[in-house]
Symmetry: C2
Subunit: 516 residues, 2 copies
């Protein structure tokens, strides 16, 4: 299915009539409802205009969403236009002019110059453009982000005021959670916020301890912003579910079983606390928060911790219910009702800072709930996979749009085979079935403070790319797999820098201990 076909399909689904709303539910229930939005049903006589929604922010976020989508939407038409002129004089310069004008970048010259012999390799060009358009989004990220960054409800200073010097978030690697920060949480990405996506929200405890240790050294040695050293580290895990199709469109890593997804994330949070307390002494453990996301609606539920930091799977506040219960009343009263609901749920167990953060997250999510109601007909048209490409390695951090890529978080194919196989299977339906190649971005991050880090990231790219092409040799041989390598610097301006073939040097590190 090409982008245009996908958009047509989306349009069709969006126009599908919404089902009747389910009966009103209490704030903390576990809903299993069908297609109607449980917060508010547009066109059903209800006015879906909650007093606490930031409509100006919704407008700029919608602009951002459309800008990014348009960059992918333009690919097929542009390539068709180029195809139409492939035997005309001045083809290369005319093609490049079309690409530059419609897509914002030029195409690899070698792919245009030999077309009189073999014809244009449209499959190659399409896959290239998908990845190149993504890179264009990364390059434009600062400009794009300026639209919404200053207006987000939660920023680093707010987090510090709540008592958190650092926030480390693990959403599921599922593409539907890629708009988490600016859209769902209304959170401004910044140096104090780290996102580490893992399949099933099952973050790696050892790796998370390394992240925590980094912040802890900065805190203990005075390397954090003034005032932050008295704060704590906050780890948030985000699991997800689908209210419309709970058995099919929930978290695949947990067999679309919501309870299992929730419990598994909770266990990791508890394990992280235990590991840090056991290693560095009782009290060292970070604060934790568990959040569930209904990916159909972008509505969250927050599991509030008790006085000991313990979180309970059955103890949460649902933002959809908050929207529904406080819709139609004035901002002051709505905010007071939200405060009362959180206070009642917390039973005096949360710190004041944590309670402030939970209330702000819930209030901020009301805007996203209304965003989906207004701009996506109350529920996303595409409940499941609709990614543009597969990303393998470390997640790029600068583009924040739902369903941008299928993500396989890995350092080696050997460890990530299961995730990769699923990705290839999905794109067999999305791309191969329509004659397109599968675009794969092999992306690793490095830290320019660490000498040699970039070289090692490039070597890892080459090794992983080779392993992918070996595992899916049949696809690779027929041009159905298009791997592009890229690296980003966590501490610099190099972002998603494409690494080109042929390799400058061998793909292996030094070999060991051979004495002939």
């Amino acid at each position: 299915m090409n982008t245009r076909q996908r958009q047509a399909a989306k349009l069709h689904m969006a126009k599908r009539p919404a089902l009747r709303v389910a009966p009103s539910m209490p704030l903390t229930s576990m809903p299993h409802i069908s297609m109607a939005n449980p917060a508010c049903v547009p066109g059903s006589g209800q006015s879906c205009e909650h007093a606490l929604v930031d409509r100006a922010l919704n407008t700029v976020l919608y602009d951002y969403e459309n800008r990014v989508s348009a960059r992918f939407g333009a690919i097929v038409d542009t390539l068709k236009a180029i195809l139409a002129i492939q035997y005309t004089p001045d083809f290369v310069s005319r093609a490049q002019a079309l690409a530059a004008q419609n897509l914002g970048y030029s195409l690899p010259e070698s792919k245009l110059t030999q077309t009189w012999i073999t014809g244009l390799d449209m499959r190659w060009l399409h896959a290239y453009c998908v990845l190149r358009s993504f890179k264009f989004c990364v390059d434009q990220a600062l400009v794009d982000k300026a639209l919404w960054l200053p207006y987000e409800a939660i920023d680093g200073q707010f987090l510090r005021d709540c008592g958190f010097h650092t926030v480390n978030i693990t959403p599921c690697a599922d593409g539907r959670l890629q708009g988490l920060l600016p859209f769902v949480f209304r959170m401004a990405p910044g140096p104090e916020i780290t996102v580490r996506a893992y399949a099933g929200s099952l973050f790696d405890i050892e790796s998370d301890m390394t992240d925590w240790a980094h912040s802890e050294i900065l805190r203990l040695s005075g390397g954090l912003p003034k005032g932050a050293e008295s704060g704590n580290y906050l780890k948030i895990a985000v699991y997800h579910f689908s209210s419309a199709s709970p058995k099919h469109q929930g978290c695949a890593a947990h067999g679309s079983n919501d309870e299992q997804a929730c419990e598994a994330a909770l266990q990791r949070l508890d394990a992280l606390r235990t590991a840090i307390d056991s290693t560095y002494g009782r009290g060292a453990a970070p604060d934790t928060l568990l959040i569930g996301l209904d990916t159909d609606l972008d509505a969250i539920r927050i599991h509030t911790p008790d006085a000991t930091g313990r979180i309970d799977a059955d103890r949460f506040i649902d933002a959809s219910a908050v929207y529904r219960e406080t819709n139609g009343i004035d901002p002051h009263a709505a905010r007071a009702a939200l405060h009362r609901a959180v206070t009642a749920r917390a039973e005096g167990a949360m710190s004041a800072g944590m309670q402030t953060l939970v209330e702000r997250l819930l209030e901020a999510n009301l805007s996203q709930i209304e965003y989906v109601i207004q701009h996506h007909a109350g529920r996303y048209a595409e409940l499941g996979h609709d990614e543009h490409f597969i990303c393998v390695g470390d997640a790029p951090t600068k583009v924040h749009i739902r369903n941008m890529y299928y993500f396989a978080h890995l350092a080696t194919v050997e460890e990530g085979t299961a995730d990769l196989d699923v990705g290839i299977k999905i794109f067999t339906g999305l791309n191969l079935a329509h004659g397109l190649a599968i675009p794969v971005l092999v992306h690793f991050s490095h830290d320019s403070n660490v000498p040699g880090g970039r070289d090692r990231a490039v070597l890892r790219c080459r090794r992983v790319k080779a392993a992918i092409e070996e595992r899916y040799a049949g696809l690779a041989a027929h041009g159905q797999l298009h791997c592009q390598m890229a690296v980003s610097d966590r501490n610099g301006t190099e972002l998603c820098c494409f690494i080109e073939e042929p390799p400058a040097h061998a793909a292996h590190g030094p070999s060991a201990g051979h004495r002939p």
Copy 2:
């Protein structure tokens, strides 16, 4: 070659007449000499009894070496004895009695009970016994170590007195460096000393930063022993070379090029300092020390840092030369000469603590130089590979004997393919050529403070074992590859615990994001 054959070969080489000693060299030269020991030639009229040598310690270390060797030396005779009685009544109980008596453990019952049908699988039993004897050594480590542990020249308190709260050592993964701590450095293993072996001493900067961060948090939060918090972290890299066969028996990871081995290790040390200073502020970097080891003689050379911590490849003190220059004089004068030599080389640039440590390391190494002179005829008979098995994953830490195993440090076969291929090639000569299987220990460590860590280590064992058996499928199919999985707890009593087949559950982690 079986163990007995190997021992015979060793004996033959040890009796080979030593060549004439090379002319006396200055303390800091880079020697390229042949078979004679440059420190002292036994039987040449010189008395090789240096006044600073700890002969009592040498005696117990020799006892330790023989104890451990004997456990492997007994395998072939025991298996032959079992083979001889395989058709006798009460075979199983008699075989188990022989194994228990000669090897210290029993054999897997199932491998003895069906012998009337298929005969004993000697290839399997031999490989099993090699790995099981190693486990026996691990189990006996506390008892064995009691022989020498209290008498080592350098312990945690000494290091703290020198101003180092933690010492992290990266030797080359080469099996010839496996006796480093108690023999070469005369250092008592303890919680303040970590050894991380890598091919070519090319340690992973990011992983070393994690090790450093762990200690730094303990230091900053008062988690170190009293008085240690004012100390620094010391990183030591140990490269190696062969004075008798510099072009063939040096460090294979660097093409047996001594200068390259030295420079590469030095670059990693500098990179680690830069990375930590850049990340955590100038002055955070650990102290570093570069040491070269002549694996023929176990003699070290120490590259002393200047006042800024910079180390120079060409600036070192050679312990062989120290031995030679100070042999025959009384302890007080010898120690004073050593002190003068280090002071002259240091040019006032080292801290007092670093100088004390360097002098102690050099003095301690004199004992090992004499050990090799007395117990190994001045130079190890086997200059190259003579390992018992291949170890893959994390190195077990409790057995300290030269050439115990070929080590491939890896988390996945995908990253460690080059190292593994070299190991298989070596054992094709050592074992396959004599009809034996290649014993492979797939060993990973975990931390029992981290919930789920053991399960993840077991999963990693299974994944790596499967990848090895896939890569060397031909060997595996013919019983020429014998993989045993094992895990150790870094913080507990579980050491080299064998993990048995069949797997209790699947070898993969949860798969990601599949939505059908």
